[in-house]
Every structure is written in structure tokens, then in C-alpha cells.
Amino acid sequence: MLRTFDIILIGLMILAAAVTYKIKHDAEKQMTQVTRLQRMITDERDTIDLLKADWSLLTQPNRLQKLVETFQGQLDLQQVEAQQIININELPQPKPVSQDLDDVANIITEANAGEKIKPDTTMTGSINKPKAAPKPPKRIVPIAAPKAVGLY
């Protein structure tokens, strides 16, 4: 009787050993994976650091100014003068879009002289503006002065 029990115990022990070994082996495999991922993360972080440094090197005002000077012929950038900077509420009020009939509507009206035509209430940018509302004076309104322009 005792022998049977012994053998069962031995069997259990071997099984336990095998399971432990497997778990340990798996854990080691996972650890290798973790280390590998950690190394990859470190690599990525280092690359991010480097790219950040690269970015700030490429966007140095110093460098941009040199580029602007070199390519002045093509770019034709000018220094921003104080006169060019105004507040949004200092802009002249654009004229309200006129409700008068435009040329096309007039022609149509003439053609169908008998009928009363109601002008379309929908306004698109191309219909009324050039004639009715004079363009507001063209001014550059850099709310935040663009970097490359201001540098020079």
C-alpha cells in the first residue's frame, strides 16, 4: 500500500517539477520579451530626443534668417512694420451686401418683362461682391506675427 502511495507522490513531484520548469521557462521567455520591448522603448525615446533636437535646430531663428536672406530673390519677404499690425476690431467694417438686383437678374427681368421675378435670396460669393461691395483695403493682419516673417 505504502509503495503505491510513494509512487503517486513521486509522480506528483515529477509533475510539479515539470510544471515549475515550464512556468520558469515561460517567464524567462516573457522577460526576454519585456527587455526587448524596454530596449525598443528606450531606443524610440532616444530617437524622439534626437528628433526634437533636430527640429529645434531646423527651426532656429538664426537658420531661418539665413535661409530668408539666401532665398530673398524668390521669397521676397519683408520685415513686418508696425503699420502692418492691427487689431481685428480696428479693421474697417465691410459694406453690407447690397440687396439690389445684379446685372444677370436685370437681363432676365427684361427678357421676361411681363412677369415679376423675385431675386434669389441665396447669395454666393461670385454674384454680388465685385460690383456692390468694394473690397475692403487689403491689409495683412498677422494676429500672431508669423515666425519666419518677423525674424528678418
Binding site: 530626443d49 529645434s56 503699420q83 499690425i85
Partner: protein, 579 residues
């Protein structure tokens, strides 16, 4: 099977088939068994130790496969990044790969060089070849490679070469903010500027206990604005060339918080390659150089006289005759030879008038006032490079007179700018800082040094002095839309113990927008010559246009709105209803 065998054995015992002399046999049996066990144990141990010993011999005999991995220098210390006020990187740590070779293991140097040169076209062939042929254990081939180059070289699969990672400090802006950022040494320890300050704030202690890991270090934010800093340095370097000066410098300070937005001093150095950083003429002149600031000091003399309450803007000073004291005679540079009102003394920069202004408060009062303005004491700020101002040990009448117009005492340009900021912001002296500071924090450290009224009068005088057409010396500093006000300073330098009339140190201190000052700009230029084809090398011709350039180019970055409404009106009439 085993169970059957056990059963049989039991049956034998029961039926008495087992021998009669069982006792004897049992004894024998157990003795045998004990001996067997001992033998088995001995065998086990011999076996185990035999394996260990054999393994040791095996490892000892084996060829060294891991080889020499190059110098195992200490891992370089991490430093926090330094950012400007908008988060732009000013200084950062980057990891670079350095390529080394183990020439002993290189199979074919020619092939190795050929392959390497596909990635590194600028490799020095001769040198590299001799290094690879040398048969030594270790040789550097190229340092500071980018990750792309590293992976390309790895892909080549050359035996006997490898990489080591090195950490190095990198300043993307190069010399742009060199004097503020300072330097690190080869061990990545700060030895100058803000780098040194960061070390002193506990970084070196952290590092000593091994806690300074690059991920745990928060970046340090400075009050510097990189864009303004670039403008300031650009203007300074250009002015130095244009006026053939030996040095120039400028600083921009926020008058409400004491934050330094930009500071540059030329000649400067590139912190990425600081071979000349420790040369004597490359020092930071704005904080580590003391100068006789010349007529800019008249701002303080005037403010002192006004603050004493004994004179006001309507007071007059007799500037008809030069003052003679001892062997010295004090004359005016733009002599008017008449009785001048206080604003006239200021805008014509009358030495005689200023001396008389100082007379109003007396010698001790004068000294106490300049100490109160912080002009004669060592400035307290983060930068380690701060010079101690110089003043006469014992103040006599002659000292008070000369100091009234900026000679006879030397202070740093940065301190002068800080003092001027106090005159502009309503009389609060705020120590300058290179770290961000809010107005509330600034108000806690601020000291009221002159009255609100004096500050208002000084703003008026500054504005008057820079008005185009007022005859003031600062009219060239004016920028349309930005309402600049300021004071020139042309100091004669001491050459061989005498004040020389053609070697000058010029300065211009300005505030803008002068109706409600936000920033103080101070420029200095040392020994300027007249511009090509022009005459005149006083501050109005060089230091003042520098200020104008800085303001014109940086005002939009500083968030100052241009305003043309007041441009048409001249400085308001001098009427004081309080009287």
C-alpha cells in the same frame, strides 16, 4: 507489477520460506546498505565537483570570445533640458553613437574601409587604414554618429567593429544664448551660466546619490524668449561689425516682473564647441563686466533730485559756467551756456546741470540713493557670473559730482537696466531673474525705491528725450508705433590713467511703450568708431539705433501693440496742476 511483487514478498514472509537466520542476514544487509549509501554519496560529490572542475578548466582553456569592449568610462551624467519661455529647446542631452574597431579582429581592413565609406563618405582613408592595420585592441574610428548612420553601418555586417553610446550636451541655437546658458564640462557638469545654476540647485547632489536619471528630470524653463534672444544677438553682432567696436551687448527686461527676456554680449562663443569661451574678452559683459555707464546714470541723478521733493520739473539749473573742483573742470558736451530747466538738463545731457542736481541731496544722500537703486551692490540673480560694482571708498564732493553724470563709479549694464526698469514701472526695484516669474511673485520681492510721481516724471523725460525733433539725444532710437523713450550715455574711457576723448563706451537705456512701459532695453557698445562715411560715434549714433532695431524686430514677439494715435501729438505740455 510492483504491487504483485510486494504481495509475493509478504506471502514468503508469512509462510516462513524466508531463512531462519534472518536476524544475522538483516544485520549484514543493513551494514552493506550503509556502505553502499556512503559510496553512492561519495560518487555523487566526486561527480559534481568533477563536472565543476572540468567546466572551469574548459572555460579557462577557451579562446576569449567576448573580447575587449573599449574603455568602460563612467556613464555620463544626465542633465535636464533647458527650454525657453515658449517651450523651445535651448539645451538638451542627446545620445550619439561612436564607432570603434577592434583591429585584431578585423579580417580584411580594405574591405572594412570600403564598406564603411559607403555610409561615411568623409572618413579619412589613410588614418583609418593605419588604425585598422595596427593590430591593437581598440581604436576609435568616428564619434558622434546619427542613429541612421549607426543602423546603416550595422547592416553592413563588418566583423570587429562596434558602437558605444555617448551622451553629450547639445545647444541647437549655437551661440544664440551662449552667455545665459553657459557651459558644461566633459563630465556634463555645469561650469558656467544657467547650467552651473542648475547644478547648484541640487542636481549635483542628486547625481551623487545616483538619482539623476534622464527620464526623471523635469526640463528647466527660462524666462528667455528664443526669438527675441536671436534678434538681440543679431543686432549686437551686426552693430559690433558695423561700428568696428571691440564689444557690444544688449538686454531686454520686463519692467513688471524683472524677467530677462533676452541678453546678449558679443564677442561670444559657441557652447557646442567652446574652445574660446574662457578667453578674457569673451566674458558676459552685461552682468560680469563693470563699466562707467556715462550719461545713462543721469536718469538716476534726475530721479533722485525729483524724488527728494526739493526740485520739480520746472526747476532751473545754472549751466552757464563750467564747474571747477580741484584740478578738474566739468564741462558740457552739448554746451548751451545758459540757465537750463530740468527737462533741458536731461535732454541736452548737461554735466553741469546733473552735478547741480546731485548737489540738491548732498553727498551722503546721493550715495544712499544709488545703493537703494541697487547700482552699487552685487546683484542677486541666478547667473553665477555677476561682477561687483566699484565705487569710491570715501565719497567726496568731486565723486558726487562726477558720479552724477556717470563717471567715477562702475556698475554692470544689467544692473543699470534693472534700475531703469524701477524708474519706469512706478518705482519698484525688482531683482532680475532668468526664470519665469509672474507679476504677483515679482511684487512680493519688489522694493519701492522712488515714488510713483517720480516714475511718471521720468517717463515723461525719457519720452521727451527720444522725441523726433525735440533735440534730444535719443531720437534715433524711436520706432514708429512703439513709442520709445530713453537716455543715451557716452562715457569716455580711461586710457593710460586719463579720460580719452575719442575712446568711448556708449550705452542707451530705453523703455517702450513709454506711455505704459512694458520692457526696458539697454544696449552697450565698447569703443565704437564712426560708421563708414559718417561722422560721430556718440551713443546717439550707435547705441540708440541698436535699441531701435531691437524694438522694431521684436516688439510683435513681446506682444506690444503698435499705436499710432499718439504719434501725431508731441510730448504733453509740462503743466502740473498739483502745484
Amino acid at each position: 507489477m510492483a504491487a504483485i511483487w510486494i504481495k509475493q514478498k509478504k506471502a514468503e514472509l508469512v509462510t516462513g520460506i524466508a531463512p531462519v537466520f534472518a536476524l544475522d542476514a538483516k544485520k549484514k544487509k543493513s551494514g552493506n546498505r550503509a556502505r553502499n549509501r556512503v559510496v553512492m554519496a561519495i560518487a555523487c560529490f566526486v561527480g559534481i565537483y568533477g563536472i565543476i572542475g572540468g567546466r572551469l578548466v574548459y572555460y579557462g582553456m577557451q579562446e576569449d570570445t567576448t573580447g575587449y569592449n573599449g574603455p568602460t568610462g563612467a556613464v555620463l551624467a544626465s542633465r535636464p533640458d533647458i527650454l525657453d519661455r515658449n517651450g523651445e529647446v535651448l539645451a538638451t542631452d542627446i545620445k550619439t553613437a561612436s564607432l570603434y574597431a577592434e583591429p585584431r579582429k578585423i579580417v580584411d581592413p580594405d574591405e572594412a574601409i570600403e564598406l564603411l565609406s559607403t555610409v561615411l563618405p568623409d572618413l579619412n582613408f589613410e588614418q583609418t587604414y593605419s588604425r585598422l592595420k595596427s593590430g591593437t585592441g581598440f581604436a576609435w574610428l568616428k564619434r558622434g554618429l546619427t542613429p541612421q548612420q549607426k543602423s546603416q553601418i550595422m547592416a553592413l555586417g563588418i566583423p570587429g567593429i562596434g558602437f558605444r553610446t555617448e551622451k553629450s550636451r547639445f545647444y541647437p541655437g549655437g551661440p544664440t544664448a551662449s552667455h545665459i546658458l553657459g557651459l558644461v564640462n566633459i563630465d556634463n557638469q555645469g561650469i558656467a551660466g544657467m547650467e552651473k545654476y542648475i547644478d547648484e540647485q541640487g542636481l549635483s547632489d542628486l547625481r551623487d546619490v545616483g538619482l539623476a536619471d534622464s527620464r526623471s528630470l523635469e526640463p528647466v524653463k527660462l524666462s528667455i524668449d528664443l526669438r527675441v534672444q536671436h534678434v538681440v544677438r543679431d543686432v549686437v553682432v551686426n552693430a559690433m561689425q558695423k561700428f568696428r567696436a571691440i564689444a557690444a551687448g544688449a538686454v531686454v527686461i520686463n519692467v513688471h516682473t524683472g524677467e530677462v527676456l533676452a541678453m546678449a554680449s558679443a564677442p561670444d562663443f559657441d557652447p557646442n564647441n567652446p574652445y574660446n569661451a574662457l578667453d578674457k574678452d569673451h566674458l558676459n559683459r552685461m552682468s560680469a563686466g563693470t563699466y562707467e555707464m556715462g550719461s545713462t546714470i543721469k536718469s538716476f541723478t534726475t530721479a533722485m533730485a525729483l524724488d527728494s521733493g526739493k526740485v520739480n520739473l520746472q526747476s532751473t539749473f545754472d549751466a552757464r559756467r563750467p564747474i571747477t573742483i580741484g584740478r578738474q573742470t566739468i564741462r558740457d558736451f552739448h554746451g548751451k551756456n545758459r540757465i537750463l530747466t530740468m527737462p533741458e538738463v536731461f535732454i541736452y545731457s548737461s554735466n553741469i546741470g546733473s552735478a547741480k542736481e546731485a548737489d540738491v541731496v548732498g553727498i551722503e544722500g546721493h550715495r544712499a540713493f544709488l545703493h537703494r537703486m541697487g547700482l552699487l551692490d552685487r546683484m542677486q540673480t541666478e547667473l553665477p557670473e555677476v561682477a561687483r560694482p566699484m565705487e569710491p571708498k570715501v565719497w567726496k564732493k568731486v565723486h558726487s559730482i562726477t558720479i552724477a553724470f556717470g563717471h567715477g563709479m562702475a556698475t554692470t549694464p544689467l544692473q543699470t537696466a534693472v534700475g531703469a526698469a524701477a524708474l519706469m514701472n512706478g518705482g519698484k526695484l525688482i531683482e532680475p531673474t532668468f526664470l519665469p516669474r509672474t507679476i504677483e511673485e515679482a511684487n512680493k520681492v519688489a522694493k519701492q525705491v522712488v515714488s510713483e510721481k517720480t516714475s511718471e516724471d521720468m517717463r515723461y523725460l525719457y519720452r521727451l528725450n527720444s522725441e523726433t525733433g525735440s533735440g534730444g539725444s535719443g531720437s534715433r532710437a524711436n520706432v514708429k508705433g512703439y513709442r520709445v523713450g530713453g537716455k543715451t550715455g557716452t562715457a569716455e574711457k580711461v586710457i593710460n590713467g586719463r579720460y580719452s576723448s575719442d575712446v568711448r563706451f556708449n550705452a542707451f537705456v530705453a523703455a517702450f511703450p513709454i506711455d505704459k512701459p512694458e520692457y526696458v532695453v539697454l544696449t552697450i557698445i565698447d569703443e565704437p568708431k564712426a560708421e563708414e562715411g559718417k561722422v560721430g560715434a556718440t551713443a546717439g549714433f550707435n547705441a540708440a539705433p541698436m535699441v531701435a532695431d531691437i524694438i522694431r524686430r521684436s516688439a510683435s514677439f513681446l506682444g506690444v501693440q503698435p499705436d499710432f494715435r499718439e504719434e501725431q501729438e508731441s510730448a504733453p505740455l509740462m503743466v502740473n496742476f498739483d502745484q
